[in-house]
């Protein structure tokens, strides 16, 4: 929880929470109903499972599947922390030359979806990839070592998820009270033991929160593991869904994957530990003297440079290479305009719908604490534990059985996005509402204004930035979303994500290049909005 949130939590204890209006309760219940639909429906289907479905699951060697998936998630999380934490420390606390520019550069890979990254890796190092083609003429190289499978999935996921750790830990370091480090030095500890025994443990919540996002991403990921042909849970679910007429085994597998995600969430709670992280009192924030890197300057620059090279410049270069290749060979590069419009339409609709759905929940959490609110809040976080492919499957089942008019329609795609990404809109809105506090609204009411007038003239302008940040985040993730879009889209409807997928899965690298580049370019806009927000008010670590 942020400081502001904690301060208002203290306030909340001293004042009985005001009763939520009926409209607010109804609205938030409606949102929750939509949120729980996929899981409830899956559970229903699983309950109906007969012995033959269970047999099938057992024959699939699900234990191995679980271990493989968890192993990948664990390896990616560890690697992302190992990359993200040093980068965060270097760009916030040291005199690294150009540290502001590095901070932007190393967070940019966030706009590259992992399946685009995987595609770039395959298009560079895979069979008939860029490297092999470049080496073939002079050296006669016909085969390169295979990068698909675990190494490819591991590299792709690490390179494009470490920015979560980087951003959250950077914010954590900036929020750290520098005098606890001084205190350690004055107690006869060197700079290194201070870092190990004080700084690092104090950053535990930010590292845990960043690691959580990475672990969930790796568990949920469908595109990168599929392109790398790594048999992870999501791929098994997809194959089961595509290949079998009976969808019950797919539902069973989905529930198991949700179980894994929940286990990761519990693990993260444990990793936070008992400590609370706070800066007591107001006091004057003193300037933090940057640590001199000295002879470590060059190695640090090499680290930042190689991360930027592999996670940003490299993928972009590969994509541009194939784009030019395609043009030169006169390959029919399909017009990417229609998928681009498709992406923009569904992502914008999802951003608007998510902010609208998040408002009643954020308001309940910020203003009306209590048992009801806590349940609503928990339900609204379902999306975190729900892999895209699982939500998509559930909605496919649900719509084909109960709402055929929704089946393969754009509104269903948007609903799935909202279910998956709602917390991203709730968090900043809740933060904005808490920062604003209830007194401002009461002042407006006391000045004889109606509730409606106060909402429009006081609340709306004050939370606009939070709403914008939430919308930008949902827009960004919706643009990148692949599995739910693949399963739920109307026939013939393409987004940039699905065009990239189609091209990359078929090995038509130049066909995937144009939409990939366009997707990255469009995603850079909301990222810019978010980075500005981080600079202005520091990003909030997702609350427990």
């Amino acid at each position: 929880m942020s400081l502001v949130a904690e301060a208002s939590a203290g306030l909340r204890r001293s004042l009985p929470p005001a009763r939520a209006s009926r409209g607010l309760v109804v609205a938030s219940l409606a949102v929750c109903a939509v949120m729980v639909t996929p899981l409830a429906y899956l559970a229903l289907r699983a309950a109906e499972a007969d012995a033959s479905s269970w047999d099938l699951i057992l024959r699939m060697r699900t234990v191995w599947l679980t271990l493989r998936t968890l192993g990948l998630a664990a390896a990616v999380t560890i690697a992302a922390v190992a990359v993200g934490v040093p980068l965060a420390w270097l760009t916030t606390r040291t005199d690294l030359p150009g540290r502001r520019a590095w901070a932007v550069l190393v967070s940019l890979p966030l706009v590259i979806p992992s399946y685009v990254g995987a595609f770039a890796l395959i298009a560079a190092f895979g069979p008939r990839g860029m490297l092999q083609q470049l080496l073939e003429a002079p050296l006669g190289v016909e085969r390169l070592p295979d990068i698909t499978g675990f190494p490819g999935a591991f590299i792709a996921l690490t390179l494009f998820t470490y920015p979560y750790v980087f951003l959250l830990v950077s914010a954590g370091i900036k929020g750290l009270d520098p005098s606890i480090e001084d205190a350690s030095r004055s107690l006869a500890h060197t700079r290194w033991t201070t870092f190990r025994r004080v700084t690092l443990p104090s950053l535990r919540p930010s590292i845990a929160a960043g690691g959580l996002l990475v672990a969930l991403y790796a568990l949920h990921d469908f595109g990168a593991v599929s392109l790398m042909r790594f048999p992870a849970f999501t791929q098994a679910i997809y194959l089961q869904y595509k290949g079998a007429f009976d969808r019950t085994p797919a539902a069973l597998l989905s529930l198991m994957l949700v179980g894994l995600a929940l286990a990761v969430l519990v693990l993260e709670q444990r990793a936070r530990g008992r400590a609370r992280y706070y800066r007591s009192g107001a006091g004057t924030a003193r300037r933090v003297t940057p640590i001199e890197l000295g002879k470590w300057t060059w190695p640090s620059l090499v680290l930042c440079g190689s991360v930027t090279l592999f996670a940003l410049v490299g993928p972009l270069a590969v994509i541009v290479f194939w784009l030019i290749r395609g043009f030169a060979a006169g390959t029919d590069i399909e017009l990417t305009l229609a998928p681009a419009v498709g992406s923009l339409v569904v992502a914008s609709a999802a951003a608007l719908a998510a902010v609208a759905s998040a408002f009643p929940i954020a308001r309940l959490v910020a203003r009306h604490q209590g048992g009801f609110t806590r349940s609503v809040e928990r339900l609204s976080y379902t999306g975190y534990a729900l892999p895209g492919i699982v939500a998509a499957l559930a909605f496919v089942f649900f719509a084909s059985n109960f709402a055929p008019w929704l089946y393969q329609s754009l509104p269903l795609v948007v609903i799935a996005y909202v279910v998956l990404f709602l917390p991203q809109a709730t968090e900043p809105l809740r933060g904005a509402l808490m920062q604003m506090g209830p007194r401002v609204e009461e002042a407006g009411r006391a000045l004889g204004r109606t509730r409606r007038h106060v909402y429009l003239s006081v609340v709306a302008p004050l939370i606009a930035r939070g709403a914008l940040a939430g919308a930008a985040l949902v827009f960004l993730t919706s643009m990148k979303e692949l599995p739910a879009t693949l399963l739920l889209r109307p026939t013939g409807f393409d987004t940039l994500a699905t065009s990239i997928w189609t091209g990359a899965a078929a090995g038509l690298y130049s066909k995937a290049a144009a939409p990939a580049l366009l997707l990255i370019a469009i995603c850079a806009v909301p990222l810019y909005v978010l980075v500005r927000r981080v600079e202005v008010e520091k990003i909030e670590v997702p609350a427990e």
Partner: protein
């Protein structure tokens, strides 16, 4: 603490510290004898905290020297990092390690010396709180943990940066007395920074008055209050009334009447009169008038305008219901007066 009784525990000579935009310390001189509790008193922004940070080794001085005991730690080509200085520090906001409990906070600076931790916890009256996390403690307890943590490794000098500013007023007085007692009991050599003159006078053995990056006067609380070395020090330490005086042949005529001025050169001068050194007597034909009163119960602060228009603050013990606003009074000197010329005592 283990230096000789009358030995010098800490010495700063000509220390200068410049930040990008401002000079924080400008020829800062200070000598601290072992076993002394010194207050570093000055207005906010005068460089007090910077001085502590330079002494502790968190900032490097641009010029000047710092010695701890007989070891040079900064200046003259020497640089000892903070972890090697044997200087303890209590931070303004205590800076307790949020991820460690009370026991481990106190043990942090020790090499597996459980006995010492137990002793310190005993000394700080923290028995039963060993396993509490910092956020589970009250303000006063956090304060004691911070002090205990700094004292545990038996540093040569303890620095306390505005240690009481984080406590609310009701708690402050008792914690202050407690801390002063503790520091005396362990014969600690300590400097605490404060902008509260009452705190400085009440707690310290010695007070160093600091303005704009340098120390103007060091002395016992009685000395700096009773014999300030300059007009500036006089107004920083306690309340001060300055009256115009015309001196001639050992006598000065002031708005409080004629007063003795032995040894003061003839001509214009200023007289420092503390509020408790003026007496007001209710008198319907008096030439002074009361303009404001603040009643505190045990005493009261009365502002009076004298015959020549000078406004003085007067502190009177006990209740004086007759001294209301606009009442006429007679004012006279009932204590010490000190003469200043061009801002320095004469």
């Amino acid at each position: 603490m283990n230096a000789a009784a009358e030995g010098v525990a800490l010495r700063c000579a000509g220390v200068t510290k410049i930040f990008d935009d401002a000079v924080a310390l400008h020829g800062f001189d200070l000598t601290l004898r072992s076993g002394t509790l010194m207050a570093l008193l000055g207005p906010s922004g005068c460089g007090k905290t910077t001085a502590l940070r330079v002494i502790a080794g968190f900032e490097a001085p641009a010029a000047g020297e710092v010695w701890v005991g007989d070891r040079p730690v900064a200046g003259g080509g020497e640089w000892v990092p903070p972890e090697k200085r044997r200087i303890g520090m209590v931070f303004q906001e205590w800076a307790l390690f949020p991820h460690l409990d009370v026991w481990h906070n106190i043990a942090f600076g020790l090499d597996r010396d459980d006995e010492r931790v137990t002793d310190v916890i005993e000394m700080m009256d923290l028995n039963g709180f060993e396993r509490r996390m910092p956020h589970e403690l009250s303000g006063g307890q956090q304060q004691r943990v911070a002090l205990g943590r700094a004292l545990a490794p038996s540093p040569e000098v303890v620095l306390l940066d505005e240690p009481f500013s984080n406590l609310d007023a009701t708690l402050r007085a008792s914690v202050r007395a407690e801390v002063a007692q503790l520091l005396h009991d362990v014969k600690a050599t300590a400097i605490f920074v404060t902008h509260d003159q009452e705190e400085a006078l009440a707690m310290a053995d010695e007070v160093a008055v600091m303005v704009q990056g340098r120390v103007l006067q060091v002395g016992s609380p009685h000395e700096v209050y009773g014999s300030p070395s300059s007009r500036r020090v006089a107004s920083l330490v306690g309340e001060a009334n300055f009256l115009r005086a015309n001196v001639g042949r050992g006598r000065a005529s002031t708005a409080l009447g004629a007063i003795a001025a032995p040894g003061v050169p003839d001509g214009e001068a200023e007289v420092l009169v503390r509020p408790e050194a003026i007496e007001l007597v209710f008198d319907e034909v008096g030439d002074a008038r009361i303009v404001r009163t603040e009643f505190y119960g045990h005493d009261q602060l009365v502002t009076a305008q004298l015959a020549d228009g000078t406004v003085v603050n007067v502190r009177l013990l006990g209740p004086h219901p007759e001294l209301r606003v606009d009442a006429r009074v007679r004012a006279r000197l009932a204590g010490q007066a000190r003469f200043f010329s061009n801002g320095v005592p004469v």
